[in-house]
Symmetry: C2
DNA sequence: ACAAAAGTGTTCGAACTACACCCATGG
DNA sequence: CCATGGGTGTAGTTCGAACACTTTTGT
């Protein structure tokens, strides 16, 4: 592998949906003094890393996701670059960078990506570091300017949700209409009428009903659907709109 | 001023509207061999520059606009970072960078900004370099990957035009409704019905009619309007939508 | 008087909103 | 048999689409 570029990084806002809440994946940032064993840092950050000289920024983000999930082809989208001079200013952040590598610059421009994963069917591991899902409405204070980056990523997710069918990326391949509805309600912060929502979704030819029902639920089992990106791409003259 | 960062730049896609076509501002890139006087490079690029160590990326884009127009407070928005390893690959591009400064890296991540200026009331100058408006449907081949950057910027302008009232930035302070209509038609590539367009615009409380008419036109003079961002901000619960 | 763009209202159909009752399953 | 969410239709309203004639100015 080639050398690390000391002043450019990528940070990933990884969203997951557990059929109830929208969650973000964070990694623990823990550092203790080698002699005194005193805890110098113990908090959480987004998952990010510097890029390599021979690596596209997109590839760097993919690399991080691959390392975390073992999967390729995860939905990934760049949303903003953060290039303020003083975005890394807190002594903790500087200490952490120095501890990671003496070669890292203190002036780092980072490129924010958001990624949508289907948290019910993915197992996560990041070496020795602790990673954990946090619901959006119960986030800790994050290191660096990661609260800001996270919020910008969320804003972009919301915008894009309204105009393109990316919500499906957060659900398993087979899903029910009310799972989809809960997803949209949770992310957009709105409530939809059940009948109207269903009516709207059934009009979308790229949401395809299966001859298959939910199992093991203690109520009338719902019909399962799949999303077909192929059909969507072919028929997308109709403007996608989730503004019920 | 502090030192230049060799591997990070900003590039600006500067849009202007002349009441007819949407134009982009480009700068000539000309280089001739010092001895033989042979022309080594003669083409056009977006306007961009490396950032300084003590400069936010946003500030770098503002600096470029200020140098070009003499104005602060021009509409400016970051739209994407371009971080491919081989985005600078053409020998001409490498030659140009070397000629500009030996210190520039060949691996440059650039951050794209688009900016909207009111081309009828601004005068432009960029030192010794030749700058010129090009209509979007008659662009030359650009240096670097600037055609790609320009197209991404245009895409973003279009998206944003549909959901936020940024088109007004391309018009002078006082404008007529049909100037506004031509602007939207030109950028979105659609045709609107004149009566329906007018009806829609008149509903927007932040488009304020003046007691003033066009002068010197050889037809019935149109009423003039101004856009009030203040009123817009106060009333923006209503979703802005230009999907007539 | 003519050319050129401004200004103005109504009708039709599509899309969104609101709303209440029965159904299938697990416990 | 009960609790839980699944599934269904209709009426009212709002919003966008289509469309033609008169007015004001400069030449």
């Amino acid at each position: 592998m080639s050398k690390i570029i000391p002043n450019i990084s990528v940070d990933c806002v990884i969203f997951g949906f557990d059929f109830n809440k929208l969650n973000v994946l964070l990694v623990e940032r823990k550092l203790e003094d080698e002699k005194s064993k005193e805890t110098l840092i113990d908090d959480w950050t987004l998952i990010g890393y510097h890029i390599y000289e021979e690596e596209d920024t997109d590839s760097a983000a993919k690399r991080i996701l691959k390392k975390l999930t073992g999967l390729d082809h995860i939905y990934l989208e760049q949303f903003e670059a953060f290039g303020e001079v003083y975005r890394i200013n807190d002594p903790k952040d500087k200490l952490w960078l120095k501890y990671q590598s003496e070669r890292f610059s203190e002036r780092i421009v980072t490129i924010g990506y958001f990624s949508l994963i289907n948290s019910t069917s993915v197992s996560l591991s990041l070496h020795e570091r602790n990673v954990k899902w946090f619901p959006l409405n119960d986030l800790p204070e994050l290191g660096f300017d990661h609260n800001k980056i996270l919020n910008k990523g969320l804003e972009r997710l919301r915008d894009k949700m309204r105009s393109e069918p990316i919500g499906f990326e957060l659900l398993p391949g087979k899903f029910t209409i009310s799972q989809l509805q809960r997803l949209y309600e949770e992310i957009l912060g709105t409530k939809f009428d059940r009948r109207n929502f269903r009516k709207k979704v059934l009009q979308m030819k790229y949401v395809i009903p299966l001859d298959e029902k939910q199992k093991g639920v203690k109520h009338k089992p719902a019909q399962l659907f799949i999303f077909s990106r192929e059909v969507y791409e072919k028929t997308k003259t109709e403007r996608f709109d989730f503004s019920i």
